[in-house]
């Protein structure tokens, strides 16, 4: 009887949240899974079950989608290394400052507050107007590139924009991790004659390694889903050279043939990738906890 009463009260507390969650997330997610097995598109009223045909087509017969997967992979790889490396470097340097520490922290984090749509348009101005101007009027001739129109350089511009927006976020996480290192540990190492590099290598770095794991997986997760930065800066161009998976899904569903069923299959593939990454993350973190 007590259990029944308890569960009834539980339901009244959980239901409002669950209702919204059910309507907009669960229904959409399971609907997406179902439609991914159909040939549903906006042009036809009826549709049929086609099994895994959409998945097979996406992975074997859709060079554009496969290219967007490969490009996203390249982007993710670059971001994991550069974003975490830069954030860690800045965190260590900023944390070593005394009076101007809050200033640098505030400054470096600021771009993270802005939408990458706004940031992307701002950088578009830099890439298409300011840099060519600087190249023309100064000795910095190498800046005269087709930053948006050339496939290789547009990859760099997307990276620059993404790093500009994202490094500050990871830096904050790394700063919190560095602050968690007991001061006594660092002091005793310094008294024992360890130099700043040795202290970092043998004490600070091992202590913040768990935060690095978090940082790497946060980057993996967010980079696989990248959309705004690419949409604002290149729109996936030139041609489809910088089209990422999320943009490919968006175009397939809303701009090209409205092949909702097919686009849903691609969306499920993206989900599986992100799901897999998280599972690996949980496994890695669990193993580390057991070792510790």
């Amino acid at each position: 009887m007590k259990r029944l009463r308890e569960n009834t009260i539980l339901l009244t507390f959980v239901l409002p949240a669950f209702l919204f969650y059910f309507l907009f997330v669960l229904v959409s997610a399971s609907g997406g899974l179902y439609y991914s097995l159909t040939n549903w598109n906006l042009l036809n009223r009826s549709y049929d079950m086609v099994g895994l045909a959409n998945y097979v087509e996406a992975l074997t017969d859709d060079p554009v989608f496969i290219q967007s997967l490969l490009f996203t992979l390249k982007y993710v790889g670059a971001m994991v290394v550069l974003q975490n490396g830069l954030a860690l470097l800045l965190a260590v340097l900023v944390e070593g400052r005394k009076k101007d520490k809050p200033f640098f922290r505030t400054l470096f984090f600021m771009p993270n507050m802005l939408s990458l749509i706004i940031g992307g348009f701002m950088w578009m101005f830099i890439f298409t107007r300011v840099l060519p101007y600087v190249a023309e009027h100064t000795a910095l001739k190498f800046l005269d590139q087709s930053w948006i129109g050339d496939p290789i350089f547009s990859f760099y511009s997307i990276l620059i924009l993404s790093l500009w927006g994202g490094v500050g976020y990871l830096m904050i996480i790394y700063i919190a991790a560095i602050q968690g290192i007991p001061a006594a540990l660092l002091e005793s190492a310094a008294i024992d004659g360890a130099g700043p590099f040795q202290v970092f290598r043998h004490i600070s770095f091992p202590m913040i390694l768990p935060a690095v794991t978090i940082g790497v997986f946060l980057t993996l997760n967010s980079s696989f889903k990248v959309f705004d930065a690419v949409y604002a800066l290149t729109g996936g161009g030139p041609g489809r050279a910088t089209q990422v998976v999320a943009l490919n899904i968006f175009e397939e569903a809303f701009h090209m043939n409205n092949r909702y069923g097919y686009a849903s299959a691609k969306a499920m593939i993206l989900f599986l990738i992100v799901f897999l990454i998280t599972m690996v993350q949980l496994w890695v973190m669990k193993r580390r906890e057991l070792e510790a």
Partner: protein, 277 residues
């Protein structure tokens, strides 16, 4: 003893200053050129405006229906935020305090959905919202944000409630207090720190979200700041930079002001959210 500045500290300062310039460069260039005419941008992009004028701002203010867009953004965020905080804290609290299978099932359902990328549900979500008649409506969009945002809020509240002792609630039960009264009178005030974190994370997310409003809002009267800015950008298509830059500065203004006023809370909220989430 003579004070000497070690070389390494100069090097550190140079690196930090260089990254600072990188951070500010696009914003400063945008600000500087937003006060120039298009001709002046063409001929002297790096110099201070010869005759600074507010003309671009007036044009951008007009073109983006700035006040209306700002109001729309605030309305959507307010609906989403109040639902996320109220429903999220109710659910997170009770799930944390109730043992048993049903409670664990609900909790794992909420947590599982945090793994689903938005892009994986957006196609069906547009159909669902059409069927539920929330498509095209600002309030409706706010309601969708409740659904999308509530799982993480439940997760954060659930974790926080675990750290508050039960004694107060138990004493209230003995005094004959009902469940809802206990929640609103006793528990909710104790949740203030985590409410702040949830509020900051979700405000930033909703304020800066672009794709969902793009899919949901069709009438330009209902556009958010980002959508109006995007529309203006598309219209001038990389040409009328003076107006575009002014619009960009206007669009980032509310967030930058908020950040400078509340940066301590925001940075704490962000790092709390990231490390617990």
């Amino acid at each position: 003893m003579k004070k000497r500045i070690p070389l390494s500290s100069v090097l550190v300062l140079i690196i930090l200053a260089a990254y600072g310039i990188f951070t500010l460069f696009p914003i400063l260039m945008g600000l500087l050129n937003s006060f120039k005419t298009d001709g002046e941008i063409l001929t002297s992009i790096l110099s201070f405006p010869a005759r600074p004028s507010w003309g671009n701002y007036i044009r951008a203010f007009d073109k983006t229906s700035y006040l209306a867009s700002l109001f729309n953004t605030i309305l959507i965020a307010a609906v989403g935020l109040s639902g996320i905080i109220l429903f999220g804290s109710l659910a997170g609290y009770k799930l944390s305090r109730t043992p048993g299978k049903l409670s664990a099932l609900f909790f794992s359902l909420f947590v599982f959905s945090m793994l689903i990328p938005f892009h994986s549900i957006m196609i069906t979500l547009t159909r669902v919202s059409l069927k539920l008649h929330v498509q095209g409506s600002r309030i409706g969009l706010g309601l969708i944000y409740i659904g999308l945002g509530v799982p993480m809020a439940v997760f954060l509240f659930h974790g926080f409630v675990k750290s508050i002792p039960r004694e107060l609630e138990e004493a209230a039960v003995i005094d004959g207090c009902g469940d809802y009264r206990i929640f609103f009178r006793i528990v909710l005030p104790l949740l203030k720190p985590i409410i702040a974190t949830v509020a900051i994370l979700n405000t930033l997310w909703i304020w800066n979200d672009f794709l969902l409003p793009l899919l949901m809002l069709t009438d330009s009267d209902t556009y958010t700041l980002l959508l109006s800015t995007n529309m203006l950008f598309g219209e001038y298509n990389n040409n009328d930079w003076s107006a575009i830059l002014a619009a960009l500065i206007l669009a980032m203004l509310p967030v930058v002001v908020l950040y400078l006023l509340m940066q301590k809370y925001i940075i704490n909220g962000i790092s709390d959210g990231a490390l617990k989430g």
